[in-house]
Amino acid sequence: MNKEYSQNASSEVSDTIVEEFLKQLADAKISENIINQLRKLLLEERNFTESAIKTALLSEDQTQ
């Protein structure tokens, strides 16, 4: 990315929020699997659809 607009690039604000959010989830002892799935969706795949996020949160085997 061009250095000129790497400062304050808008997506960085959103990503900063997501990074901090995931860190706080880890501190709150939320399942590592959920955190990893959210990281993959929100930061890597940039998939912000409801169904994908819902699957990431609720697909864990609750009986475990």
Partner: protein, 820 residues
């Protein structure tokens, strides 16, 4: 970011063929409404993004880029509608040409198409906010906090922050909603278990006490502790050694029959009857108003559609959409049904106890049916049919729609048919007639039924626990995201708030030097309060004037852009913004743009000539960095005040003997040109607050000023001993006087017959010489080489020289001071 060097527009919107040389500097486009200014803004946006915001979004139904971006006469040739933009990319030090036509709007020809160039242009295309119109500017200032947050987040490209928050909240709410029916079910199965256990309160101690008493009768070991997998009938079959034929457990059956009779009394009670009547009445009102009944259906349809959007295809018609646009559209539509949603919620709340009662009734009828089958009672078939009809009615009430079916379902729901009552009585008679079981048999039945119901209770409890865990988890995740995003956005807005206040103070330093503002983000909202002369913080629209609100909008936009792009904020188009700002503050706005954003190229459009002049006077734009449209027509597009065109147009009108049109054109052009000359020569014109200067107010002052300046320059040249220069200036003054004499301008006030008002009454032969002499007069105020007006420098303060751009005329106005 980029800077625009030149712009060529062909067959696009209202423009046929136009080229502007912006040279990477600030540039202004001036013209009254309908002269084609917005076409330029559209063209720049199109060249950079492949889109025109004004042609998409709310209120643009039926309008499309492909069909309506080309000039109306080229609407079938979108390939002819082209915009060619030459830009400079400061960070790469490269000149780039973007050539985009409407037919291939998404495939511009970019030269050079280097990777780094494409990366920069891609970045620009993601920022259509480089264009600011007054409509958007007002949205920043006067919106509700919710709408403002959306506007600002769109500008800061933070929509996804809000999207994620909304999705997490929705998931959390859905999980919470799932708890209610499960809790109802658990209460129901718990009641059944308690009835079977013959205890009033569910606790391990009470349960084991009751169960162990029966086990003792059967000589089974007592159960010491109740674990998750403990079987109450543990050892029962082994101990008896035989498999029993299934019989009716008399004690339990009696309890169940008692319960079903209680439920029948509840269903038929006056309370339930009046509640049903009340709901039927409300549903009938809903149903009788087509607006409401259709509204309820549409609302449900849209709600379903919203949950089903999961890709780029509409879940209803398979049309390809941008998912965000589709969601936005549906959400907007849903707003119309808010009142209906509220009314529906009230009725649904009233339906809840009826539905719960029906569920219990169904459950008990199932038990009675089971006993009836074992007892081989013929009338039992009615119970099964009746139970199915209760199930159907309950499901209908849960669905709510269609309304008519819900009304029908509620009618007679409180009446239990005679044959059902008879069937229950038959079962009851049969059960009562069963000989009382031995204590051992009763204990065996007891343990079997209690175990069955305990298992059901355990299963429902587990489902409720899992649902509760999901609800707790999703709420925690939502709250964490909301907290983190609010904190991060708070720091972003603190910075923007500081810059905004500082920029606003630059414009209003004289009267609001202590101005402060508060941007207060909360979940999904952005509060905006501004200081009003130290009297407190209020919304911008509360006390500040429209002009102040306009400047607040601009300052907030600039502060946000500064945050968003930092040093890369190199380019912005301000489309007729700040029209409400008064003269004094306009100068400050120009100063602000010039001093605070020296590296940013602003392209400004305005319909106000005076605004344009302020930009030039303050030096925001240079004298030549503007275009002034005089009119627009569908055949030619915008036409600027260009001398070559004007004299030709007037000549054409005269040839057609259209003296009225020719004289009007001459007068308007002379008014425009006189205004410019007065400005350039710093002529003194009688002040008019309405700014409506006529030709008679301007041209005589322009002429006398030019003559005085030539005199002054001649005196100056003589004082410096420049005899040749003085003589040249004298000659120029004499020639100018001769042309002025022929024009009769100086006789306008004393001889009405030669006044410009009379031009319209002249015949073709008399008017042609008038035009010729006016043309010579205008030309004598222009440099024939560089085609620029003669002008005085500097624009303010003591006059130093009169010159043209190429310095063909460059005469000193300051005399040599005599030696003391």
């Amino acid at each position: 970011m980029i800077k625009v060097d030149s712009l060529t527009i062909k067959e696009f919107r209202g423009i046929r063929d136009l080229t502007l040389n912006l040279k990477g500097a600030n540039f202004a486009v001036c013209g009254h409404n309908g002269t084609g200014k917005s076409g330029i803004v559209d063209a720049i946006e199109f060249a950079l993004t492949g889109n025109i915001s004004r042609l998409v979004g709310k209120g643009t139904g039926g309008i499309s880029l492909k069909e309506h971006a080309p000039h109306v006469d080229s609407r079938n040739r979108p390939d002819k509608a082209r915009v060619i933009l030459t830009v400079f990319v400061p960070s790469l030090k490269k000149n780039v040409i973007i050539d985009r036509n409407v037919k291939d709007a998404n495939s511009p020809i970019i030269t050079p198409s280097d990777k780094d160039v494409l990366e920069v242009l891609n970045h620009v295309s993601l920022h259509p906010e480089f264009v600011l119109s007054r409509r958007e500017l007002i949205l920043y200032v006067l919106s509700t906090p919710g709408d403002r947050a959306k506007q600002v987040q769109v500008l800061l490209r933070l929509e996804q922050v809000e999207d994620i928050r909304t999705i997490l909240q929705k998931i959390s709410n859905l999980c919470k909603k799932e708890l209610t029916p499960l809790k109802q079910e658990k209460t129901q199965v718990q009641e059944q278990l308690l009835r079977a256990l013959e205890i009033s309160q569910l606790s391990s101690e009470k349960l084991l006490e009751a169960v162990n008493a029966r086990r003792l009768l059967l000589k089974l070991n007592p159960i010491e502790t109740l674990a998750a997998n403990t079987s109450l009938k543990d050892g029962l079959i082994v101990a008896s050694g035989v498999v029993h034929k299934q019989t009716i457990p008399k004690i339990q059956a009696v309890a169940d029959i008692k319960k079903v009779n209680e439920l029948i009394r509840d269903i038929s009670s006056s309370n339930t009857v009046s509640l049903c009547e009340e709901i039927i009445k409300e549903l009938t009102v809903f149903n009788s108003d087509p607006m409401v009944s259709k509204g309820v259906e549409k609302e449900q349809f849209l709600q379903s559609a919203l949950t089903l959007i999961d890709g780029e295809v509409c879940p209803v018609c398979d049309t390809t959409w941008n998912p965000d646009d589709l969601k936005k559209l549906i959400t907007e539509k849903l707003k119309h049904f808010e009142e209906i949603t509220k009314k529906r919620g009230i009725v649904e709340k009233k339906l809840e106890p009826i539905i719960a009662l029906l569920m219990q009734f169904q459950d008990m009828l199932s038990s009675i049916h089971k006993y009836g089958i074992l007892a081989i009672i013929p009338s039992i078939q009615y119970i099964q049919t009746f139970n199915s009809s209760i199930e159907f009615k309950r499901q209908q009430l849960e669905s709510f729609l269609p309304l008519l079916k819900s009304i029908t379902a509620l009618q007679n729901i409180t009446v239990v048919p005679e044959e059902i009552l008879c069937a229950i009585t038959d079962v009851e008679k049969y059960v009562v007639a069963i000989p009382d079981p031995t204590k051992q048999d009763a204990a065996r039945d007891y343990l079997t039924i209690c175990q069955e119901r305990l298992e059901t209770y355990r299963s429902v409890s587990l489902r409720l626990k899992q649902a509760d865990e999901k609800a707790t988890l999703t709420l925690k995740i939502y709250e964490t995201y909301a907290q983190v995003s609010t904190k991060v956005l708070d720091s972003v807005y603190k910075k923007v708030e500081k810059d905004f206040s500082s920029l606003y103070r630059c414009i209003n330093s004289k009267d609001e030097e202590k101005f402060e503002a508060h941007l207060t983000p909360s979940i999904g909202k952005l509060g905006f309060d501004v200081d009003f002369y130290g009297r407190g913080f209020f919304p911008p629209g509360a006390y500040h004037s429209e002009g102040h609100q306009d400047s607040m909008g601009l300052c907030l936009y600039l502060a946000l852009m500064k945050y968003l792009l930092g040093n890369a904020f190199k380019f912005a188009v301000l489309d007729d913004v700040l029209m409400s700002i008064d003269t004094g503050h306009r100068r400050e706005v120009c100063n602000l743009l010039k001093t605070q954003f020296p590296e940013t190229q602003f392209i400004l459009t305005t319909h106000d000539d005076v605004w344009l002049r302020h930009m030039k006077t303050v030096g925001l734009i240079s004298q030549e960095a503007s275009i002034h449209f005089r009119k627009w027509n569908v055949d030619q597009g915008p036409t600027e005040w260009d001398q070559r065109d004007i004299w030709k147009e007037i000549e054409d009108e005269i040839q057609k003997n259209e003296i009225h049109a020719a004289s009007a054109l001459l007068r308007y052009f002379m008014e425009y040109i006189s205004s410019e000359i007065c400005h350039r020569l710093r002529a003194r014109v009688e002040f008019r607050a309405d700014n409506q200067f006529q030709l008679g107010d301007l041209l005589p002052r322009a002429i006398s000023q030019f003559r005085e300046l030539l005199c002054e320059a001649e005196d100056s040249a003589r004082s410096w001993g420049k005899k040749d220069e003085a003589e040249a200036l004298a000659k120029r003054r004499s020639e100018f006087s001769s042309i002025v004499g022929q024009s009769n301008v100086e006789n306008w006030q004393i001889n009405p017959a030669v006044h410009y008002n009379e031009w319209v009454n002249l015949c073709k032969e008399d008017f042609a010489p008038v035009v010729e002499v006016q043309r010579k007069l205008v030309e004598s105020l222009f440099c024939p080489k560089c085609k620029t007006f003669f002008h005085v420098i500097p624009e303010r303060g003591q006059r130093e020289a009169i010159k043209c751009n190429c310095a063909s005329l460059n005469a000193n106005l300051q005399k040599k001071k005599p030696k003391k």
